[in-house]
Symmetry: C2
Subunit: 382 residues, 2 copies
Amino acid sequence: MQRDVTKQFAFTLKARDSSARLGEIATPRGAIRTPAFMPVGTAATVKAMLPETVRATGADIILANTYHLMLRPGAERIARLGGLHRFMGWDGPILTDSGGYQVMSLSKLRRIEEHGVTFQSHIDGATHLLTPERAIEVQCLLGADIRMVLDECTPFPATRDEAKSSMELSMRWAERSKEASQGMAVPGQALFGIVQGSIYPDLRGKSAEALKSIGFDGYAIGGLAVGEGQEAMLDTVAVTASVLPEDRPRYLMGVGTPQDLLEAIARGIDMFDCVMPTRSGRHCQAFTWGGKLNLRNARYADDPSPLDAESACPAAQYSRAYLHHLMKCGETLGPMLLSWANVQFYQELMAGAREAIARGNFAAYAEDVSRRYRASNGGEEE
Amino acid sequence: MQRDVTKQFAFTLKARDSSARLGEIATPRGAIRTPAFMPVGTAATVKAMLPETVRATGADIILANTYHLMLRPGAERIARLGGLHRFMGWDGPILTDSGGYQVMSLSKLRRIEEHGVTFQSHIDGATHLLTPERAIEVQCLLGADIRMVLDECTPFPATRDEAKSSMELSMRWAERSKEASQGMAVPGQALFGIVQGSIYPDLRGKSAEALKSIGFDGYAIGGLAVGEGQEAMLDTVAVTASVLPEDRPRYLMGVGTPQDLLEAIARGIDMFDCVMPTRSGRHCQAFTWGGKLNLRNARYADDPSPLDAESACPAAQYSRAYLHHLMKCGETLGPMLLSWANVQFYQELMAGAREAIARGNFAAYAEDVSRRYRASNGGEEE
C-alpha cells in the first residue's frame, strides 16, 4: 500500500460498551481498528517474523523503537534508504516511541537536564544527546505515522515530589516536542502526548490537563508496568483515561498480559504495545485460547494435539510435540512459530474484544478469557 | 499431499546432454525432478524455514538425518506421532541418511566392529549401537521415502589398504541393509546403496560392482567432500558414475558449492544434498546469480539494491542494506531471509540445469554460472 496523501490522521469512536471503546484510526497508510495491539518491531523487525506474516496475523500497525534505530543503523541512513517502511518492508502504519523509556532502561551514564538527556549507547558506549527536538527529528527521518513526544519515564517507586518534578519536566518537553513537530511533520503524521505522574492520581490529572492544553492527536499513558503491580496500574489507567478527551485515541504503553489488556480496554484504552508475545515466544511460552503453555515442559514431548486448535493461526496448527522438540533442540523454527502464534493470539484477542464491544457484551468476553487464563496459571505453566 | 500407495518408486531418464542427465523419480509422495538438490532438514526442520517456504523454493524432496532424529526426539516417538512427514509438516518425499557419516563426524568414543558401530551421543553422552539392521529400522520408523544403507564413511586420507577394508565392511553392511529392508519396508519406499573406496578408482569400481550385484533403487557416492579437494572429488565422481547403472538415480552425498554441483551434473550425477545454503545463510553468506556475497561487509550498509534482482525469491528482494542491518544486529530475520534466498538459489540453479540439459546446452549454462562465481570469488567476499 502506498501512502495516501489525501488521508488525514483521524479517530472515529464507533461504539461504547460501558467504558470500553470500539473505534478506528484513519491514517495515510491505512486504518487501525481499535482496540489495537501493536507488535513491537524494535530494530526494524518484529523478531523472527516476516512483515507479511505480521500483517496476516491481523496487525494493522506496528511499533518501532527510536532509541534502537537512531543508534543502529541510524535515522539519517534509514531516511537515505527511503524511510523505515521501505527499509523493513512494512507498508502499514508505524508508531515510533521517542526513545525516552529505552534511554532509562538500556543505556548507561544518563544525565537528564532541562535541555535533554545525555546517554551512552548500550551497543558501543558512544555518547549521544537526545532532546525533544531531536527525538521528533529522528521520528520524522524514520517516516513514522505516529510519533511520540520525548518524556522522562519516572522510575518506580518515586516520592510525590520526585514524580511531580519528573512529570513537569516531561510536560515542558511535550510542549517543545509539539513545537518541533509543527516545523517538521508531513501532513497526516500524528503526534501523541504521554501522561506521566507515577501512581499519584492528582499528578496524572495535572499531566493530562497540561497535554490537552497543548493539544495532541492522541494521548498515551506512560510510566506504568514498571513494578507498581496490576492493581495500581489499572487504578492509574482508570483515573487517567477518565480525564482524557473522548475524541482522541488512548494508548497504554508497554502493557501487557492478555488479562492486562482486557482490564485496560474495560477502562477505556484503545491502543497497546508489548514485547510479551514475541519475547515469550522465544522463551517457550505460548499464549493460546486454552491459556498459557510452556512448551519446554516434558509433558508435551508426546502430545500430538495442535498448539491451539481454537486459533486460526497456521503456526498454532503444529503439534505441541513438534514445538517441544524444536525448542529443546534450539531450532530457530521454534521461536519463529511461537512468536507467530503469540502475535496472532494477541490479534485474535483484540478482534474478539472489538466484536464483543460492538455486541455490547465485552464484560462477559473479558471474563471468559480471564477464566481460561486463571485456570492455566493454576497449573505449573510459568 | 497424501501418500499415493498406487505409485511405486521409479526413475525415468528423460534426456541426456553429454554425460549430464535429465530425469524424474516417481514416489508415492510426488515426483522428484532431477538433477535435484535436497535441502537438509537435520533435526526435522530445514533450519529457519517453514516447510511451505521450502516447498515454494522449488524443492521436491528434503533430507533428514537419522543420527540426529534417533537421538532426539527418538525414532519410536516420531513413529508414535504418525511419522516424520506429519511431525514436521512436510508432505513431499524425504530421504534419510543412515547415520554413518554423523557417527564419524559428531559422536565420540566410536568403536567400529563387524556387527555395527558403538558411539556416544554428542547430546548427552549416552552409548548407542547402530547396526545396518537398526539403521534401516530407524528409517522405517521415520517413514522415509528413500532410505540409505549404513556405511562407514572412510576418513581422508586413507591408505589403499585402509580404504579397501573400510569399503569391504561397508559392502557387507550394504548386503545386511538390503536384507533387513526386505523385511521392513512399505511398498514404494526405496533403498539406496553407497559407493565407498576413497579416491582409489579400482576400489570405487569394486564397490559399485558389489552394490549392483546386491541391487538397489539408487546409488549414492559417499566419502567425498572430506578434504580430498575438488579435482580428486570430481575424478572420483566421474569414474564411479561411469560404472553405475544408467537406469537408477545417482546421488552425490554432502556436495557442495554451486560450481561443485554443476561439475558433478556434467559427470552424470542426479541428486545432491548439502547444508551449505542454510549454514551459509546463518553466517551472512548469500548465493546469488551475481555470485557470492558476504552481507556482513560494511559496503552493504547503504546499498538499497535487492539481494538478488535476478532471483524470483521473495527473500532476495529485501535490500542489502536491510539484510546487513539484520545480520549486524543479530536479528533472527536475517538468517531466515538468507537461508530462504540461498535455498531458493540452489533450486533455481537446478531448474536452470534441467532446462539447459533439455535444450542440450548444459556446458554453456555451467560455464556462465561458474564465470559469475569466479568473478565474485575474485573479490573479498569470503
